[in-house]
């Protein structure tokens, strides 16, 4: 139970960001009062989901890679560059999320 709560807490910042982005843009769209308000609201929620889920995915992937990379660098500091590359590869997930976010906002 404690572990589940702890695991959920780890993703809290990403989920909060996702919710805030979504609701902020949805409110902005709704405030316009035009006929496409619902569609704009849904697009805003989609944009928030794209960014937020990309960030969660990156976090999930970087956790074990980071732990292993820290272990490798502790033994062989000269491997830092190689490990950094492996560590940054999951960042592509959040970049794809950003792309989705801007496409939906555009």
């Amino acid at each position: 139970m404690k572990n589940t709560a702890f695991a959920a807490a780890k993703y809290l910042p990403a989920l909060t960001a996702m919710t805030l982005f979504g609701s902020a843009f949805a409110q902005e769209a709704a405030a316009g009062g035009d006929a496409g308000a619902t569609a704009a609201g849904l697009k805003a929620i989609g944009a928030g989901l794209a960014l937020g889920l990309g960030a969660v995915g990156t976090g999930l992937a970087q956790g074990p890679i980071g732990a292993a990379a820290a272990g490798v660098v502790a033994e062989r500091p000269e491997k830092f560059g190689q490990m950094a590359i492996w560590f940054f590869i999951p960042e592509t997930l959040v970049i794809f999320g950003f792309v989705g976010f801007f496409l939906l906002r555009g």
Binding site: F6, A7, G63, P64, A67, A68, A69, A70, G71, V72, A74, E75, R76, K79
Partner: protein, 326 residues
């Protein structure tokens, strides 16, 4: 999700890359004399610990000390990087050296060897402090050895004391009692499925070797070690009675080997294979550490053999035969 073995295994994998490569071992085995052998191993990661072994007039004693130092440093390093549950699991893996050391002590005391000779055969690893092992080597008989080890001899020391209190007196009785207690303790201490699978395989192989040892006498179920997967108690009694068939095909070679020495060499090969498999399958568990310890043990054992062969001028064929059995 928050698995501490991600970090630990990253370090252990890097430690594995510092082991002497098989190419370097082959080169050391093909050197022309002892001096050339020393020069060759000075170019491997062992060089940091060689020290006096390469000095003028140094002999096998200094080489053994250097190799032991290297081994102890690796084990101590492995212990230092784990905390919490992984530390307890790694301690459980290190019980193997306690078992080997206590068996060496029992054998030495039973056969009346000198304390110095017994200490020379001990492995400087495990959880029993070195001064305790050195003190235990001075024991006059097995009951006093058990008494000494029961205080600071960890789990294996307590197992020996219980075995002696239970009336075990022959070497086989004591060794099997130690094996039974050791496997019971290890299976209780490790939680990873893959590592458990490795130990059940080890128990099967140990049972087969004991059954082969018992051939020619009256088969007795009290020598059976419980906890295996493929060799049951009835299989054990059948094999001890002279039958060679085993349900697992790959274990057949152990029962069919021409002599006990060949059977032990086959058993070692099977266990090497099993430990490599567990290291690959157990990326986030203690399997990687288990495999590392086994590889390190082999590296040191092979270096000792090659060193002796070069020191005494053994031929290449004789050395190759020795290495095959190691």
């Amino acid at each position: 999700m928050n698995n501490p073995y991600g970090y630990i295994n990253g370090r252990v994998r890097m430690m594995r890359t510092a082991l002497v490569e098989s190419r370097a071992l082959d080169e050391a085995a093909s050197t022309v004399n002892y001096q050339e052998f020393l020069r060759q191993i000075s170019e491997t990661p062992l060089r940091e610990d060689l020290g006096d072994a390469t000095a003028q007039g140094a002999g096998l004693g200094q080489l053994d000390e250097a190799l032991s130092r290297n081994y102890l440093r690796s084990v101590a390093h492995l212990r230092s990087i784990a905390t919490g549950q992984p530390a307890r699991e790694i301690e459980a893996l290190l019980l193997r050296y306690d078992l080997q050391n206590v068996k060496t002590l029992v054998r030495g005391v039973l056969t009346g060897r000198q304390a110095d000779d017994i200490v020379a055969g001990l492995i400087p690893a495990g959880t029993i402090p070195w001064p305790v092992l050195q003190g235990a080597a001075q024991s006059a008989d097995v009951p006093s050895l058990a008494q000494t080890l029961s205080v600071a001899g960890g789990k294996i020391g307590q197992i020996l004391r219980a075995a002696v209190a239970g009336g075990a007196s022959s070497l086989l009785d004591l060794e099997v009692a130690l094996d039974q207690g050791y496997y019971r303790a290890v299976l209780a201490g490790v939680r990873g499925t893959n590592v458990r699978r490795y130990f059940t395989r080890e128990i099967d192989i140990r049972n087969l070797l004991i059954a082969r040892q018992l051939r020619g006498g009256a088969p007795n179920a009290r020598y059976f070690i419980p906890g295996g997967r493929d060799v049951t108690e009835s299989d054990f009694l059948r094999i001890a009675g002279g039958d060679n068939s085993v349900s697992a095909q790959d274990l057949q070679a152990v029962t069919e080997a021409v002599d006990l020495g060949t059977a032990e060499a086959i058993a070692r090969r099977l266990l090497d294979e099993a430990s490599r498999n567990v290291a690959m399958a157990d990326a986030l568990g203690p399997g990687v550490a288990l495999d590392y310890l086994r590889r390190k043990e082999q590296e040191i054992a092979r270096m000792r053999l090659i060193g002796r062969a070069k020191y005494y001028g053994l031929s290449k064929d004789e050395l190759a035969k020795e290495l095959e059995g190691a």
